[in-house]
């Protein structure tokens, strides 16, 4: 019989350092034709791809969201760089409850947002096929205030597979609607 100690130690280690089920890299593509999606779309109403890198630490959540104008990244991670003007936004105030998470975003939003930085509320819910991301503009000064959209994200990488490149989010001008130029 094989010695069980290494397996027990690994199980113990895994149990002690579990990072939850939402941690990892998630990707999805918005459907601009969807009537419920007034916020996320690319040039001339093209689909917009979203990548979410999440670290889950007990009740806390941290991470960033990155936007792509070409959905090819889904099959090849580095096929296209992120959106040049609205590459990413960092997650703030992330909290996790069972199968549900919430956080805020502060920054640009490709698609329907105006040029000024937007504040958004976001929720994540576990579903059978992955996560459902729901975004709601929570910015009283914006004409988009109260508008929301949602899309389904699929897991692309596990929590322990997140690399430093996944987390790179250079500081840049937090623009608004980079697609419409508003």
């Amino acid at each position: 019989m094989r010695r069980p100690w290494p397996w027990i130690a690994m199980a113990l280690l895994a149990a002690c350092t579990s990072s939850g089920s939402m941690g990892g890299v998630w990707r999805g593509t918005s459907d601009p034709q969807s009537p419920g999606n007034p916020l996320l779309f690319g040039d001339e109403g093209a689909p917009l791809s979203v990548e979410l890198a999440i670290g889950e630490f007990g009740p806390d959540l941290a991470g960033l969201v990155r936007f792509y104008r070409d959905p090819t990244f889904v099959s090849s991670r580095d096929a296209d760089p992120p959106d040049a003007e609205c590459a990413c936004s960092l997650l703030h105030s992330g909290r996790v409850a069972t199968s549900h998470a919430a956080f805020t975003l502060q920054g640009c939003l490709p698609g329907g947002s105006p040029g000024a930085p937007l504040r958004l509320r976001a929720t994540l819910d576990e579903i059978d096929t992955g996560l459902r991301l729901a975004l709601t503009v929570d910015d009283a000064g914006s004409p988009l205030n109260g508008k929301s959209t949602s899309l389904v994200l699929n897991r692309h990488a596990l929590a322990n597979e997140i690399t430093s490149e996944d987390l790179a989010c250079p500081v840049g001008p937090a623009g608004g609607n980079t697609a419409s130029g508003l």
Partner: protein, 511 residues
């Protein structure tokens, strides 16, 4: 006869050699003051259960006073057998004289050097203070009641069975020693039931045994029918003429068990009995190790005071005495061990506890009796907590030095230790900020105020520990040690991470 003489000569020669070399391991033979045969060699180590005792039977003259161990003696309740047949169906006798004799013997024993005596009161208390007495005593009482009911229901045969069981249950508790009346009652009724059921010979023996338990027992006249009264009279007459006054508590095996129960090596038994010229005191000293009476006397009561001290002195001069090794010989012992360790910090900067496990090696040197210095070195690995507030696992090295006090009890050795404790932490960094955990502590989102950085820090303080080692055989030990430390250095670095506890379990070796 010739072989016996030859053996005697050989033993005398061995004794002479032992006298010439007092520290030699060759067993000497202790002479006795009684006509008992020569005893087998005595292992005083097992007798006293202390490994610090030399395993050779020595007499008082062989052992320097400074290393003599006190002989442990218990005085059993004396028996008042100074009764007359004519008084069997008269009023109860008084036992005052017996108590006076017990007290006098206790005083005489205490006055002797190197004797640790337990008087009758202590013996009764020790035997009665047993959790089994309540439960099993109740069972015996029920059996006794049942036996009486059966007897009064004219079923003496079945009554005898229950009464015999009651006696056995009480004797198992040594009730006949610390409070003989219930046991004697049951034994008397057992004998009566046997006689009543036609088993006269067995009944006679049972009644004789009952008088051994309580010789001064009296009965109301005409309470029993004449055949029973005759049987009682015959049994008492038989006991007074043939019963051994000093064997009332049973055979040698039971006496040895009783001594073990009391935690002593010798038992003193006594009885007051009517002699030809008046009452006589019978006194005997039973050795649990040798399972025989080492000394016996019976003297008239008025001579007892004068003869007691010489009798005890004579017995003590010839009784084996254990030698405790001088401190210098049992000290100078080096012990090492290798243990698995679990060492969590009781004060942590993380919201949920992170665990630290590892191993430790230790060395302890007993340089004086019951005093040792020790040193331990441990290597621990701390793994991240469930929230990963501890940003990464880290290793730490810990060293402890200090002094300990020890005490040994049979195969167990207990100790308490106090010492200086220093711990070198590895890459210890903790934060409750999720951004610091995901992006790193250098990221602009990471709140540096929420980061505890003790990277490569040395924490120092004091440690207290307690433990026990079990001697497994030869020189191997199984050890269990618990500890707690409090760090106070550096002055500003111990408020977040402190109070490391420790549980260590391992194997050791005694050099």
């Amino acid at each position: 006869m010739r072989p016996l003489l030859a053996m005697g000569a050989a033993l005398a020669l061995l004794a002479a050699v032992a006298e010439a070399q007092p520290t030699a391991a060759a067993p000497a033979v202790a002479p006795t003051v009684s006509p008992n045969p020569q005893p087998p060699p005595l292992d005083t180590r097992s007798a006293l259960g202390n490994p610090a005792v030399v395993a050779a039977p020595l007499l008082a003259g062989d052992v320097p006073d400074e290393v003599k161990r006190a002989r442990s003696v218990a005085i059993l309740p004396f028996k008042n057998q100074a009764v007359r047949l004519a008084d069997l169906f008269a009023a109860e006798a008084q036992a005052g004289a017996i108590e006076g004799l017990e007290t006098r013997v206790a005083q005489a024993l205490v006055a002797e050097a190197f004797v640790s005596g337990r008087d009758v009161g202590e013996v009764r208390l020790t035997l009665a203070d047993d959790h089994a007495v309540a439960s099993q005593g109740q069972l015996a009482q029920q059996l006794y009641r049942l036996g009486l009911d059966l007897y009064w229901s004219l079923a003496p045969g079945r009554a005898a069975v229950k009464l015999q069981q009651a006696v056995a249950a009480w004797r198992e508790l040594y009730q006949d020693v610390f409070d003989p009346k219930p046991c004697a009652d049951a034994q008397f009724m057992y004998g009566v039931a046997l006689v009543d059921s036609g088993r006269t010979a067995e009944g006679h023996i049972a009644l004789k045994d009952a008088f051994a338990l309580q010789t001064d027992r009296r009965f109301r006249p005409n309470f029993f029918p004449p055949p029973i009264e005759r049987a009682l009279t015959a049994a008492l007459a038989d006991f007074l003429s043939t019963g051994d006054p000093l064997r009332a508590y049973g055979d040698s095996a039971r006496m040895a068990q009783l001594a073990r129960r009391l935690g002593v090596a010798w038992l003193v038994v006594g009885a007051l009995r009517q002699g030809e010229h008046g009452p006589e005191v019978w006194l005997g000293v039973f050795s649990a190790q040798r399972r025989l009476y080492e000394a016996e006397i019976h003297v008239p009561v008025d001579e007892f005071e004068v003869r007691l001290q010489p009798f005890l002195s004579r017995w003590l001069a010839c009784a084996p005495i254990a030698e405790a090794l001088p401190a210098a010989r049992i000290a100078d012992t080096l012990r090492t061990d290798l243990s698995a360790a679990y060492a969590p910090f009781l004060r942590q900067p993380t919201r949920t506890a992170f665990q630290s496990v590892g191993f430790s090696v230790g060395i302890a040197h007993e340089f004086r009796q019951n005093l040792e210095w020790f040193s331990r070195l441990a290597l621990h690995t701390s793994i991240t907590d469930p929230y990963r507030d501890l940003l990464r696992s880290f290793n730490s090295v810990r060293a402890v030095v200090g002094l300990g006090a020890t005490i040994s009890r049979g195969p167990l050795r207990f100790y308490v230790q106090a010492g200086l404790d220093a711990q070198l932490l590895g890459s210890f960094e903790a934060s409750v900020d999720a951004d610091c955990k995901l992006f790193g502590t250098d990221h602009r989102l990471c709140d540096k105020g929420k980061v505890t950085n003790l990277d490569q820090s040395i924490l120092a303080g004091v440690q207290g520990a307690a433990g026990v080692q079990l001697h497994l055989g030869r020189d191997f030990l199984l050890g269990l040690r618990g500890s707690i430390a409090n760090y106070f250095l550096p002055l500003d670095g111990t408020d977040k991470l402190n109070l490391p506890a420790g549980i260590e379990l391992g194997l050791g070796y005694r050099l």
